[in-house]
């Protein structure tokens, strides 16, 4: 096997390193650049680092947005796990028409454009008095991410040998005991993978939050960022500092779960 890199191989790696490395470098660099120097070519290399953009961002508003982001992402993750774990287990164990219909519906719901679902949801959440509440956004997020989470988790439960559960049944374990004591621990990696990815997606979600959370004090970080970037006369250092602050929790989750994401993501996506 040619495990050593050839010239074409090295070329591709240089290309991708630049393509994915440069944007990250530019975000961080710009966030430490004085506003006046942003588009000054010379100061791109020799710039005086300043934390002015961070200082301008750090304030009570940012803390409120951070709290909202944490609540939305955590709430969504908990709700998705509560629903998707039993659903994935159920779909791994039932057979026949129930499985076919269930899987078909999940795939359809997973592929629906978010821009389409937001139109009726705006009306339905309004009818239920859930507009401008965290509960409304969390419910909408959970409904959007549960199909994906369930489809990702199901293969992990399918790989739990059914003989183990049958052995448990012989020892007197009921259906729920078999699920909690046998299937859940074995599917642990799958659950952690889904937990991590649901949190990442919920943290970055902004369309529902932009439209459903009308009070500025209710808005999460992703919405602050989306609103600043579509405003006229963008303050780039301020925006990039906000982008860095929004991404720091992502970095933490990423470092903790990188191996799971790398190996677990491909299981459910393809099988």
């Amino acid at each position: 096997m040619n495990t050593k890199a050839g010239p074409v191989n090295i070329g591709i790696k240089i290309l991708f390193t630049l393509l994915y490395g440069l944007p990250i470098l530019r975000i961080v660099q710009t966030s430490f650049t004085p506003s006046a120097d942003v588009f000054n070519a010379q100061s791109n290399l020799f710039f005086r680092p300043t934390v002015a953009a961070y200082a301008a961002n750090l304030g009570p508003d940012l803390l409120v947005a951070l709290r909202q982001s944490v609540l939305i992402a955590t709430g969504t993750t908990v709700l998705v796990l509560l629903v998707a774990i039993p659903a994935a287990y159920g779909l791994a164990r039932v057979s026949g028409a129930v499985a076919t219909v269930g899987l078909g519906l999940l795939v359809v719901l997973q592929t629906l454009p978010q821009t389409a679902q937001i139109i009726p949801l705006f009306q339905i959440l309004g009818m239920w008095g859930l507009l401008d509440t965290l509960a409304g956004v969390i419910l909408a997020n959970a409904a959007m991410l549960t199909p994906f989470a369930t489809l990702l988790l199901r293969p992990f439960f399918r790989s739990v040998p059914i003989a183990l559960e049958e052995a448990g049944a012989i020892d007197g374990a009921g259906m729920f005991r078999q699920f909690f004591a046998i299937a859940l621990p074995i599917a642990r990696n799958g659950i952690l993978t889904v937990m991590s990815i649901t949190f990442l997606l919920a943290w970055g979600e902004f369309l529902y939050s932009v439209r459903f959370l009308l009070t500025p004090a209710n808005r999460p970080l992703s919405v602050l960022l989306a609103m600043q970037v579509s405003a006229f006369g963008i303050d780039w250092p301020g925006l990039m500092a906000l982008a860095v602050l929004t991404s720091l929790p992502i970095l933490a989750v990423f470092i903790l779960t990188y191996r799971l994401l790398r190996d677990g993501l491909t299981v459910g996506a393809v099988k």
Binding site: S95, L103, V107, T111, P120, A143
Partner: protein, 317 residues
Amino acid sequence: MATMTSDRRGEPRAGRRPDRARRRTTTAQKQSLKRTVFLLPGIALLGLLGIYPLVQLVWMAFHDVTSATINTGPWEWVGLANFTQGFALGETGPAIGRTLVVVAIITVFGMVGGFAAAVALRTSGWWSSALLALMVFVWALPPVVNGSVWKFLLSDNGLVNAILMGLGRSTPVPFLYDTNWALISVSFVGAFAVIPFNALVFRAALLAISPEVFEAAALDGANRWDEVRHIMMPAVRPTSLVLLVLTMVYAFRSFDFIFVMTYGGPGTATNTLPFLGFLQAFARFNFGYGAATSVLAVLVVFVLAVIYARSIRKEES
């Protein structure tokens, strides 16, 4: 598991007593039926906030729903007027065309880029490991962050134009202001964001190839390109079919980078079908009209969803 379904569907094998086979089947069926209990929370959540909104979307598409009537009603039945209006005003047709361009660019770059990255990253060493981690991290970043930085990089004074002008261009390329460039730019960022995921999936398929295959090929004098062409490409073929559908779905529904980088503009240049429906509902407050456009978008993904669902079942059986 597979054993349960084959027991139920398969003919009783010769030598096994039929009644015994049937008894086993009924136990399995009962077990299977009891376990539908686990689906109940999912049915409740997705019924109320997945299926019901979808039905409501279709209902709205056939009614006149504005910001004045959305919460109070009554909604006037207008039949297909919302649909025909979209085509008559020349909004829906061009939006479908733009959506096809976006899907084509994201799918081609997403698949080719993902495969190229997977082949390059298959080699061992710190560079490959670090680059893979970097790409997965960028993939995990919020879309608003990736959209913001690319809006910055593609602006008149941004890094990309600075490089191009350093190479001899006299004027900056209007990546986000020109109607054609804007559509290409948002599609490019969409491809950029999906390549890491596709690379991961392709990489998993490549890692499953047994080393002996490469050793045998090396004995036959295969060069690197032969390995790619005759070993790796056939090995990822089953995976690529599913991934192709997934990438097309992703491309079709993508709106994040349009929202952040162009908000559908300049003019209507980046109004793809899903984003047009969103704007009609939430910028023009004509919810029935937006619903009709969105129903068309849903019909397209429905076709893709059926292909995807069938490929899942086929792979498992």
